[in-house]
């Protein structure tokens, strides 16, 4: 984008920020406060009701265990993050692409779309071993599972979004002599963007599921590995540690996608 639009965007942003900053600060404080209260309730309930640690350990015990081996959690977090991101990005891109292709080529859509639906009824975990067989013990293998879970909702929503394009707007563009490419870039994709982002938010969670499940097939690092290890050594504290770490990753990633959505789909936000 050239400068005028850029300035206009940043202007708008600055204005928005100056208005919402105290608001977002208040939100942050409320969030932290909420977390603190939840932590106190957790700690208190375990102590008060004498819940046995292998059912529910104390929060402080979990945090201490995490602090004891920080590298494991940091490495796991980063590794899982990488897999999630690759799967998410490729799944998102492929999903949008297939959405556009299906939108354009009706015959292909009718032939392939049902197969896409069926593919989504296959439990990943059942053919995870096949992924290892085909793609080895690599980061790629995990990313592919994340990809597999991600692309479908994006395809569906892209298609849905493209189909909500106002035919009168299409006619308007055509009356200007617009080509198919111009139609797609200037009208159809922007129109579909809000719908696409709804799917991307969902995909953010799903790609993390894919990465974690993917790590259950013989990987050495990752939050999924930590989770599995904790599960099979019956180390409940470590289970919760891995769970908290993936909650952090999941919520964070979701928040980032939602923030990007607010930035890009600014025209939809105000309703």
């Amino acid at each position: 984008m050239s400068s005028p639009a850029a300035t206009s965007l940043s202007d708008g942003r600055a204005a928005v920020r100056s208005i919402t900053m105290p608001d977002s600060l208040r939100k942050l404080i409320r969030l932290l406060l909420g977390l603190a209260i939840a932590a106190v309730i957790w700690e208190g309930a375990v102590l008060l009701f004498g819940i046995r640690p292998y059912y529910l350990p104390r929060l402080s015990a979990i945090l201490m265990a995490m602090a004891a081996t920080p590298r494991a959690y940091v490495d796991g977090f980063l590794r899982t993050l990488a897999e999630t991101l690759i799967g998410f990005a490729s799944g998102g891109a492929f999903g949008v692409l297939m959405g556009v292709v299906f939108f354009r080529v009706r015959a292909l859509r009718e032939m392939v779309f049902p197969i896409f639906v069926v593919s989504q009824t296959i439990p990943v975990i059942a053919f995870g071993a096949l992924v290892v067989l085909w793609f080895g013990n690599t980061l790629l293998a995990k990313a592919i599972i994340a990809f597999y879970l991600t692309f479908f909702p994006v395809t569906v929503n892209t298609l849905l979004g493209l189909e909500t394009v106002d035919l009168r707007q299409v006619d308007l563009m055509r009356s200007f002599g617009a080509s198919n490419g111009q139609l797609l870039l200037r009208l159809q994709l922007p129109t579909a963007l809000p719908q696409i982002f709804v799917a991307l938010r969902l995909a953010a969670s799903l790609s993390l599921v894919g990465a974690i499940v993917g790590e259950w097939f013989g990987d050495t690092t990752g939050l999924g590995v930590l989770l599995l290890q904790a599960m099979f050594t019956e180390n409940v504290v470590a289970i919760w540690g891995a769970l908290l770490a993936s909650a952090l990753l999941g919520t964070g990633f979701y928040a980032v996608v939602a923030a990007v959505e607010r930035r890009l789909v600014f025209w939809n936000a105000e309703q």
């Binding site: 265990a65 067989l133 259950w216 050495t220 930590l226 599995l228 050594t233």
Partner: protein, 313 residues
């Protein structure tokens, strides 16, 4: 020189833990490199089958389930060969409460017994068969990850490995309150944790296989002599593990790996008699559909080619 290193991977049967300490030590100390192998250790896990990954060439070496799974794989036509056996005696035991209703194997009748269907079930069936008990006379249930149902008294008999669940149970209830049933007491042995390679590897790269065994043996011997250091090495790969449990595990694993024929012939020894007994048992109970060529399935030539001194613990 690094350029001449042969890349290879070892697929474990389970997640990283002291059960596999020797391999990790050998990697850490460069024993594989010294033999010209650049070895990667790939963990296993639920829903992963070492036999399958080795047969398809995804991994060159594998530490597979046990004699039972080697038989099953051969029976299904998977081209794998066993080149060594880790646990010379059955690693599973059946645990009950001393003050509970189960005093003898006969008391299993009508009781709730949980076990894994990954091989331990065969051990249970074998023991029951020796006592003339039919499996449908008791309630056999799949065993979940946790020992909590047993500790809470919801289950009468639970399956445990010496090195893992037995430890967890003991951490929850005193050892002297437990009673165990051991397969060997009933005259059966199921050697487990077998090292396998694809048939093609065995045929085309016998030197590589031997080199792998030599390096692994060195690693294990080091692990046995310095258990603390070995556990350090394992925990570098899986830092969230519980150190006390891992040390216990390594001690137990050492016992299993150096028991029976291994005491005389060294680690990874293939005890042809034990294999044959197991084979006949599985054939009798329909676990495998037809008799197998045991010489083809268990190739002891590799381990035998290594000088006895290097093998003995």
């Amino acid at each position: 020189p690094a350029a001449e290193l042969q890349k290879a991977s070892l697929r474990l049967k389970w997640l990283p833990q002291a059960q596999f300490a020797g391999f990790y030590v050998a990697v850490a100390k460069g024993y594989y490199k010294a033999e010209g192998i650049d070895l990667t250790i790939n963990p296993g896990g639920p829903n992963l089958l070492t036999e399958n990954l080795v047969a398809t060439g995804a991994d060159m070496f594998g530490l597979s389930g046990g004699t039972d799974s080697v038989f099953a794989a051969r029976d299904k036509g998977l081209p794998i060969v066993c080149i060594g056996v880790s646990h010379q005696i059955t690693p599973f035991i059946f645990v009950t409460r001393k003050d509970g209703p189960v005093k003898t194997l006969q008391d299993f009748k009508g009781k709730t017994v949980t076990t894994w269907f990954t091989g331990a079930n065969h051990v249970l069936n074998g023991m029951l068969a020796k006592e003339g008990i039919k499996p449908d006379e008791l309630k056999i249930q799949p065993q979940q990850v946790s020992v909590t149902p047993f500790v809470d008294g919801n289950v009468d008999v639970i399956t445990a490995t010496y090195y893992n669940e037995f430890y967890t149970i003991q951490s929850r209830m005193p050892k002297d309150s437990l009673k165990t049933f051991v397969a060997e007491d009933y005259g059966i042995t199921f050697p487990r944790d077998t090292l396998i390679v694809a048939e093609a590897t065995a045929k085309e790269k016998p030197e590589l296989v031997k080199a792998f065994l030599r390096a692994s043996l060195k690693g294990w011997k080091d692990a046995f002599s310095d258990t603390k250091g070995a556990v350090d090495t394992v925990m570098a790969a899986a830092p969230t593990l519980d150190r006390a449990q891992q040390e216990f595990m390594l001690t137990e694993v050492k016992r299993l790996m150096t028991a029976g024929a291994a005491a005389r012939n060294g680690i990874f020894w293939i005890d042809a008699d034990a294999v044959k007994t197991a084979h006949d048992f599985f054939l009798k109970y329909g676990v495998i559909s037809k008799p197998l060529d045991l010489a083809a399935a268990y190739d002891a030539s590799f381990i035998q080619s290594i000088p006895a001194a290097d093998r003995l613990p």
